[in-house]
């Protein structure tokens, strides 16, 4: 119930293509869904986040799509660039007593080929 399931485990995309990473959750108490980006040797950094009151959020080439009824959310990277090659983690946090905690997915390693 506390898990966030992420797929695919790895993804290879050509430069200019669209990268899509999917996540699913069970616990309806989750109400905050960030995506973190991690480059090799670095800590994860916040990329973009969404709350369930909207179905989509866009920041530059990065878009989160959120389907509350299906309990799924996804990250779309438009016009993917080699500099986007990194590991991406979806995450979820719940309201209430456990609101301090961020539960992470297992990560997707993205490689964008030139």
């Amino acid at each position: 119930q506390q898990q966030v399931k992420q797929s695919p485990q790895s993804l290879i995309v050509q430069k200019g293509g669209i990268s899509i990473i999917n996540c699913a959750y069970e616990n309806t108490a989750f109400d905050y869904f960030p995506w973190y980006q991690q480059f090799p040797g670095k800590g994860p950094a916040l990329l973009i986040a969404i709350r369930p009151d909207v179905s989509e959020k866009k920041e530059g080439r990065f878009t989160i799509s959120f389907n509350k009824s299906a309990k799924q959310f996804s990250l779309h990277i438009m016009d993917s660039q080699p500099g986007d090659s990194a590991t991406y983690f979806c995450a979820a946090s719940m309201k209430g007593g456990s609101s301090y905690k961020l539960i992470f997915g297992s990560g997707t390693r993205l490689l964008v080929r030139p």
Binding site: G43, P44, K95, K101, F104, S106
Partner: protein, 115 residues
Amino acid sequence: GAGVSQSPSNKVTEKGKDVELRCDPISGHTALYWYRQSLGQGLEFLIYFQGNSAPDKSGLPSDRFSAERTGGSVSTLTIQRTQQEDSAVYLCASSRTGANTGELFFGEGSRLTVL
């Protein structure tokens, strides 16, 4: 510096030895977290501090693991009698307000290798 600082960046130790990992959070951040990242795995929650107290230690894998935070700032994660399965990157993060209302800022991690 302005970011979360962790030390050592790399630690190689022998099985059975104790290790201490240090985290210096961003000044003014009251929330501090430790996560563990094993090779090819996601981030596993270990412990959460609010100020100097740890209201959630539920992720600590065994009683060989302990953590403390002093002065509402620096935190130390201690692993006693290390085992090979403890090999991982240990990440520290801090936040001004907590995960649900704000961003977690991560350090670069301490890579622990237990031989």
